[in-house]
Structure formats: structure tokens, C-alpha cells
Symmetry: C2
Subunit: 233 residues, 2 copies
DNA sequence: TTGCCATATTAGGCGTGGCTAATGTAGCTT
DNA sequence: AAGCTACATTAGCCACGCCTAATATGGCAA
């Protein structure tokens, strides 16, 4: 086996591209070259070059000047990386004293180095978890991932009773702020108010009996399920 | 910071070379190009090329046609990698169900990816351990390593009472065999016999009251301290 | 002393994965 | 319909880290 490869037979770079493309083509669409470049912090021509290689490897479909889409093989590899990342985040948080705001970078590097065997040992130690510390679903070892319809706090209807499910950022400062505000996965909130012109949303937290005002930018990071429709998790 | 680098600012390759050179120049001497190549499973010219770079980086001294030696900076970097490797081996063994015969490869890949922070968290969880699962001393975070005079079973004097301290192989088959035979660090043995012409050594195991016959090749892998001079560890 | 042989080095090449500068293309706007 | 602009691609470059083939060196043996 050639050098520079991880257990999957792919390079670290390839693994990072696939993960980025997966996240960008979330709703079935195409991922644009410049968006991939932005996510990975690379120059656009570097992405063009890699796109060519990934496409020759059968991991993506490339429509010139349109963007790329994962093939089923590429999707499988991407989900594998996401499983690794999320299992690592949860393990580090649960057993090694990491917090949800500083665990991302460590998992980002480890996800390329650990064996599948180690990931499964960690998952077993964690009791085959379904969600990572940010509430994101952990794909199964078989490559299935839960897809739930969620609504962001910024878009939720007035009066809606919601359960906060996922916090969609890895920015440490924002995560620390959310934690301070008690805005963590599992919390139940009611949307009591929203200012006009895309203004901030006011939430009532059932548990603490207090209110929170959440601006547009942060509100878009807080993903909720309508209460009442809440399945057990 | 340029790409392809680990937390130390060195590449994976560089880290591997330094570790190999450290282990080869164990007793203060020079490490030869071909020995480095053999340890890392590379062609000799690849090593010549890297030697040039390492030497320009100030990590080694190179005497052409003689070999290389670590500078103090190189030694520090090598000991850091050895600490990482050994802490990882012990952590994986203690907490994630690995055995001493299958933990090496996993640690070998992780040692390049984990942060110093994570290593220190693991070390803390383990109670600042001094020895890895094979009995090898773990360098401190400050870069000090215990140096003990040990004698191999193959060279030990007849009648000597010894404590087995280190098992000097990573070969799974040999390690499993040693474990089956009860030849693990901490065990006390007496050298009761040795066949002539570099023949096998017979050991008496105090704990089980049984004898073991150990051939030359394996005997050289079992490193012992004379009993009586045994400091607490 | 001269060869020979093991070892080391130099020469030249390749794949990966970045970069900048130059060029092409699609789609909106006037 | 023409042109502008944002985006994508191609061209050409570089560092890293490996390789094989060719050459140099040092030490032992005849």
C-alpha cells in the first residue's frame, strides 16, 4: 500500500475533502468549488486539482462549473469520518475532561489516525451512543445516519414549544456562551417573542423559568424539534 | 504554519526518523544510514536525503560515511515522541481493552496526532505512570528518562536471581508467547542452567514454582535487574 | 599495496497536495 | 446583444518524501 495513507486507503486530505463535501451538499445539492475551498481554508485551484483526483477515484461526480456530489462510495467514506469524529468528541468529553468547546480540534486530528477497531472500542465504552456533545447524530458503523427535520430558533414560529437538539457551531467562544446561557441539547424552550426586521428571538426556558434573547446569527445555530412530536432519545 | 505538520512543528516522517535514531544510538554512538533504513523500512538513499534535512534543521549531527547523532534539540523531540507512544500504549491497554501484543501499531499512528494536552490528560488519568505495558520507562513531560543497567536473560550469570523488567520486542507472536509462559515485567526468576555453545537458558519462576527454557533469540529480549539491588518501583 | 565489497551518497524521477498567475465560462445587467 | 463580474479551471511552480540507478568511499583481506 502506498505511503501517506490512513486505514481507509485514503489520504488525510482526501478524507477532509469528503467530509467537507458531505457537509456542503447536505440537502442533496452540489458543493461548489469555492465553498469547499472556504471550508478547508485552501485556494480554489487546489480544490480544482483535488476534485479531478477524487472524481477519477470514483468518490465524487464532478459537473464542471457546477460543483460536485458524493458518489455512494464517497458518501460512505464521508460518513465513516463523521462517525469517527463524533465518537472521538464524545469519548474525549466523557472520559478525558474535554469540554464541548475545545474538543473539536483534537478530534479533527485523531479522526485520521485511529483504527476502526479503536473507534468501535470507544463506542462500546460509551454504550453505542447516538449523539455527540453538540447533539449531532453519530452515524452507525454500517453508515446510517439519523435525519431529523429540525427548525432553527431564528426561524421557529412564535409560541412554538421546542426541544433544543443540535448546536451547529464549533466556535469555542459561541459554545461557551451557549453553555453559560443554558442553551444546550435537551433543554426545552418556548418561543415567546421576535423583534421585526430579522430581529432577535426571545426564548422562555422551562427548566430555569427564565428568558433568553437570541440574535439572528446565534439563533441560526440552535436547532430544535417541535415538542409533542418529540420521540424518545 | 506550513502544511503536513504535527503539533511539534515537525512532520510525521521527521518524528519517526528521530525516534529511530534515538533507539539506534542508545549507547551514545552513531546511528548508521542503513540501520535507520532497516528500522523504518526505507531505501538507504531516502535516509541520506532526510539526514541532510534533519541536519539542516539542527536536529542531528551528521558525519558523512559514519552516521548521525541527535543534537540536544533532536533528543528532546525524540523523547517527546517516546513519551507519547508509551503513554498511549498504557492508556489503550488500561482503558480500552488492548493487550500488550496488539497495542503497538495503534500507538504508532496516534503518537503523531494527539496533542500534548491529551497526552498529559491520559498520563494524569493513569496516575503519572513510569512504565509502559512492556516495562519500558516513560520519559517525563520534562524529557527525563530513567536509565537502568539491565542484563538480558541470555547473558545473565548462572545462579543469578533476577526481576524481569522489560520485554524488548513488539512482535505480537513473541509477546503472546511470553505472556503464556508467565514471562512478564515484575516476575522473579532464577537462572538455573544454560546449555553450552550459546544454548538456551533455564529459568526458575519463583511465583509459580515452575521452570522455563528460553532460547538465545528470545532470551535477548528479556531484560532483568539483579534481585537484591532492586529498588522499589 | 591493491582490490573488493559493503555502505553511503548523488543524480534524476515521481506522486501528493499545496500555491500564484493567467485564462475560460456562466449568468446577470444594462 | 454586449459586457461585466464572480467563479472555475488550466498552466506552471514548489516542498516533501519516497524510489531506482549510478557513483563514491572506507575498511578489510589477499
Amino acid at each position: 500500500m502506498p505511503a501517506g495513507m490512513t486505514e481507509s486507503g485514503l489520504t488525510r486530505s482526501v478524507e477532509d475533502y469528503l467530509k467537507a463535501i458531505f457537509q456542503l451538499s447536505h440537502q442533496g445539492g452540489f458543493a461548489a468549488t469555492r465553498d469547499i475551498a472556504a471550508v478547508l481554508d485552501l485556494a480554489a485551484p487546489s480544490v480544482s486539482g483535488m476534485v479531478k483526483r477524487l472524481s477519477e477515484m470514483g468518490l465524487i461526480e464532478h459537473v464542471p462549473y457546477r460543483g460536485v456530489q458524493l458518489t455512494s462510495q464517497g458518501r460512505r467514506a464521508a460518513l465513516r469520518m463523521i462517525r469517527r469524529h463524533r465518537v472521538l468528541e464524545l469519548y474525549l468529553t466523557r472520559y478525558l475532561g474535554y469540554d464541548w468547546d475545545n474538543v473539536h480540534g483534537e478530534a479533527e486530528r485523531l479522526e485520521h489516525a485511529v483504527s476502526d477497531d479503536l473507534i468501535e472500542r470507544m463506542a462500546a465504552a460509551l454504550g453505542d451512543p447516538r449523539y455527540d456533545p453538540h447533539g449531532d447524530p453519530i452515524p452507525t458503523a454500517a453508515g446510517d445516519i439519523e435525519e431529523t427535520e429540525l427548525v432553527s430558533v431564528a426561524d421557529a414560529e412564535l409560541g412554538a414549544e421546542l426541544e433544543l437538539r443540535q448546536v451547529g457551531t464549533q466556535d469555542p467562544a459561541r459554545l461557551r456562551y451557549f453553555a453559560e446561557q443554558g442553551l444546550v441539547p435537551g433543554v426545552r424552550v418556548t418561543v415567546t417573542d421576535r423583534q421585526p426586521f430579522d430581529g432577535p428571538t426571545t426564548l422562555f426556558l422551562a427548566s430555569s423559568g427564565t428568558a433568553r434573547i437570541v440574535g439572528r446569527e446565534l439563533g441560526r445555530l440552535l436547532w430544535c424539534a417541535p415538542l409533542g412530536l418529540v420521540e424518545e432519545r
